[in-house]
C-alpha cells in the first residue's frame, strides 16, 4: 500500500517536472520572440559590430537557459533580460581588451544606416560622417555619462528601464543623459567651428 502511494507520488512528481519544463520552454521561447531584437541592440550599442552583437545575443539567451528554473519568478522579464544582455555585452567588451577604434567607414555598416533613395548623396555622406564623429565622441565620454546615454538611444528602453539596468533611479538617468548630450553638443560645435 505504501509502495503504491509512493509510485503515485512519484508519477505526480514526474508529471509536475515535465509540466514545469514545458512551461520553462514556453517562457524562454516567448522571451526570444519578444525581446531578441532588444537584446541585439543593447549588445550592439556596446560592441558596435554585428557579429559580436549576435554572439552576445546568443550568449545572453544561453545564460537565460541556464537559469530557466527561475524564469517563472522574474517579475519584469524585459528589464531582467536587458540587464543580462548589458552584462554579457560588457563582459565581451572587456574580454576584447581595449576600447576599439570605430572606423568612420565601417565595412559592417548597420542596415539602418543604408541610405534611403530619398536622401541626397551629400546628405547621406554628411549624416554618416556626423554619425561616425558622434560615435567617437560617445566613446570618449566618461562611463557614468556614456552608459545611460547609449542605453537611452535604444527606442525600446524607457528611462526607468535604463535606470533598472544600470542600478540608478530614473531622475539620475535623465540628468546624466542631459549632461552627456550637452557635452557632445559642445564638442561637436568645437569640431564644426574648427573646420
Amino acid at each position: 500500500m505504501i509502495e503504491g502511494r509512493q509510485v503515485v507520488a512519484g508519477e505526480a512528481i514526474l508529471s509536475g517536472l515535465a509540466t514545469s519544463e514545458h512551461i520553462q520552454d514556453e517562457i524562454l521561447e516567448r522571451l526570444v520572440r519578444q525581446h531578441s531584437r532588444l537584446v541585439y541592440r543593447i549588445a550592439y550599442t556596446v560592441l558596435r559590430r554585428h557579429h559580436d552583437a549576435e554572439d552576445a545575443t546568443q550568449e545572453t539567451f544561453l545564460r537565460v537557459l541556464r537559469y530557466s528554473t527561475k524564469l517563472a519568478a522574474v517579475e519584469d522579464p524585459k528589464t531582467w533580460l536587458a540587464r543580462v544582455a548589458w552584462r554579457v555585452a560588457l563582459d565581451r567588451w572587456k574580454r576584447q581588451g581595449k576600447a576599439r577604434e570605430v572606423p568612420l567607414e565601417d565595412p559592417e555598416q548597420p542596415f539602418a544606416e543604408i541610405p534611403s533613395s530619398e536622401a541626397s548623396a551629400d546628405d547621406v555622406l554628411h549624416g554618416t560622417r556626423v554619425s561616425g564623429v558622434v560615435e567617437k565622441l560617445i566613446a570618449a565620454l566618461p562611463e557614468k555619462l556614456r552608459e545611460p546615454l547609449v542605453l537611452s538611444t535604444i527606442e525600446e528602453m524607457s528611462p526607468r528601464e535604463v535606470g533598472a539596468v544600470l542600478g540608478i533611479n530614473e531622475a539620475a538617468v535623465r540628468s546624466r543623459v542631459f549632461r552627456a548630450r550637452q557635452l557632445l553638443k559642445e564638442r561637436l560645435a568645437h569640431l564644426v567651428s574648427a573646420r
Binding site: Y44, Q58, F61, E135, V150, I154, K185
Partner: protein, 195 residues
C-alpha cells in the same frame, strides 16, 4: 549695429538647432540597427542544441536523494514503534548445571523456564508468545561494544555455549525464527492500521 548683433544671435541659434538635429539624428542612428533576418530562429536553434548538451538537472538528483532519505526515515520510524524492543535482543540459555537431558528436551522442545532460571534481574523478560525463550533487555550504552566487564548472566551464557554449542545454536536458530515471525506480524499489523 543692433541689426548685426541680432543676425549673429539668430545665426548662433540656428547653428545650435542644427547641432541639436545632427546630434539627435546621430544618436538615433547609434542604436537603430536591425539584426540579420532570422535572429530568433537562430537563437532558438542554438538554445535547443545547447539544451541537449546540458547535464541532467540537479533537482533530479535531489529528488532521488530525498526519496532514499524518506525510505530510511520510514524504516527507522517503523523500527522505533512502541511495543517493539529498541535494545539489542539476546537469547540466552540457563546455566550449564541445569542443562536438561535429551529426554527432557524431547518432551519439551521449547526450553522450560523455571523461576530460578529467570535469574534475579527484572531486565530479563520471558515472553508469553515465545515460551522457553528468554529475552534480556540490556541497557542501551553509548559505546558499542560495551567497555564494562561481562555480567553474571553473560558469563553464564558464555559457559553454556561453551559446554553445549550445538544446542545453543539450535535455540538461537529457533529464537531468530520466532523474532522474524514476530517482526512480520508487527509489520502486517502496522500496514493494516495504516490502510
Amino acid at each position: 549695429m543692433a541689426e548685426r548683433d541680432h543676425d549673429e544671435a539668430n545665426s548662433s541659434i540656428r547653428k545650435s538647432e542644427e547641432l541639436d538635429r545632427a546630434l539627435d539624428a546621430a544618436l538615433t542612428r547609434y542604436a537603430a540597427v536591425e539584426p540579420r533576418a532570422g535572429l530568433e530562429e537562430r537563437v532558438l536553434a542554438h538554445l535547443s542544441g545547447e539544451r541537449a548538451k546540458l547535464p541532467a538537472r540537479t533537482w533530479w538528483k535531489w529528488s532521488v536523494a530525498i526519496a532514499i532519505a524518506a525510505v530510511f526515515v520510514l524504516a527507522i520510524a517503523m523500527g522505533l514503534r512502541p511495543g517493539r524492543p529498541s535494545h539489542p535482543v539476546i537469547a540466552i540459555q540457563p546455566p550449564a548445571p541445569d542443562k536438561p537431558t535429551h529426554a527432557t528436551q524431547a518432551a519439551n522442545p521449547a526450553f522450560e523456564v523455571t523461576p530460578r532460571r529467570r535469574m534475579r534481574t527484572h531486565s530479563m523478560v520471558a515472553r508469553r508468545s515465545e515460551p522457553g525463550a528468554l529475552v534480556a533487555i540490556l541497557p542501551k550504552l553509548d559505546q558499542f561494544p560495551s567497555p564494562s566487564p561481562l555480567s553474571d548472566q553473560e558469563k553464564i551464557l558464555l559457559s553454556y555455549v561453551a559446554e553445549d554449542p550445538e544446542r545453543a545454536a539450535l535455540i538461537a536458530e529457533a529464537r531468530t525464527k520466532a523474532l522474524r515471525e514476530d517482526a512480520k506480524e508487527r509489520a502486517a499489523i502496522a500496514n493494516g492500521e495504516r490502510d
